[in-house]
Amino acid sequence: MRIKGQATDLDDLDWKILQALQENARWTYTEIGRRLGVAHSTVYERIRRLEHHGIIKKYTAVVDFEKADLRQVTAIMTVFTDPKESENVAAKLSEFKEVLEVFTSLSEELLIIAKVVAEDPDKLHSFIAQSVAPLEGVLRIRTSIITRKYKEHNFIVKRS
């Protein structure tokens, strides 16, 4: 791993370790080393450096909400904004606990795409109507409630 200003240049082993951790963050250094054909001390050292440089931000648990009987509505909300206000809208959306992820996208218009959760459709609507629509610069909103999830992974795509 080489540091170049704000960016970090990862080598092939770094990428493989990151992929292994994303598959299972609870694998031991020994297990990862065995899978990658390197010593556990090498894995330990690489992970320590990846953590130190903030490339590994945290370790978390992926919860199956259905099995946990946590009934909630997840929606993808597309917010069309005045370009002058889009940064502010994205920043304000990011502060709400109901909003899990926020992205900006430029297609024909400037869009903010956000993943939103709520207890039920009524609460989802109330949140959008009372907290999102009134934000300065919001022009209109399209929301799609997710009915079934086929795949969800945050795996990295290794650059070739």
């Binding site: 929606a75 609507h125 109507a129 009372q130 629509a133 009134p134 209109r140 929301t143 409630i145």
Partner: protein, 118 residues
């Protein structure tokens, strides 16, 4: 027909409150379905009346049958009488242009009456 007080405790009507311009967070935002905001909003009864003429029928039906209009009019504009009249319209199961016409007529009559009272 149940009275509106049964579901929403309402303050007395106040003409000045009903006609005042509201801050953004208290405006009425027109949606066509859950989470789908049209971009149209009304920050006063006068603006609300104007928007009724232009928003889609789908939006009017969505809000009327969710009781959004009567709640906003009762709780934010604090107009008990108009909220009751809107509830009466809801109970008539109107739809389409007839629905738009009846809401417009009801709100415009009330608006003119309040303006006259001031």
């Amino acid at each position: 027909m149940p009275e509106i007080e049964a579901s929403h405790p309402l303050p007395s009507s106040s003409p000045s409150q009903t006609l005042k311009k509201l801050p953004r967070e208290k405006a009425f935002y027109f949606f066509t379905s859950i989470g789908n905001y049209t971009g149209e909003s009304a920050a006063s009864l006068e603006e609300f009346l104007e928007k009724i003429k232009g928003v889609s029928i789908k939006s009017l039906e969505f809000h009327l049958y969710r009781e959004d209009f009567e709640k906003w009019i009762a709780q934010t504009l604090e107009d008990k009488e108009l909220a009751q009249e809107i509830q009466n319209l809801r109970n008539m199961n109107l739809s389409g242009d007839n629905l738009r016409d009846q809401i417009y007529l009801t709100v415009s009559k009330r608006y003119e009456k309040i303006k006259h009272e001031l």
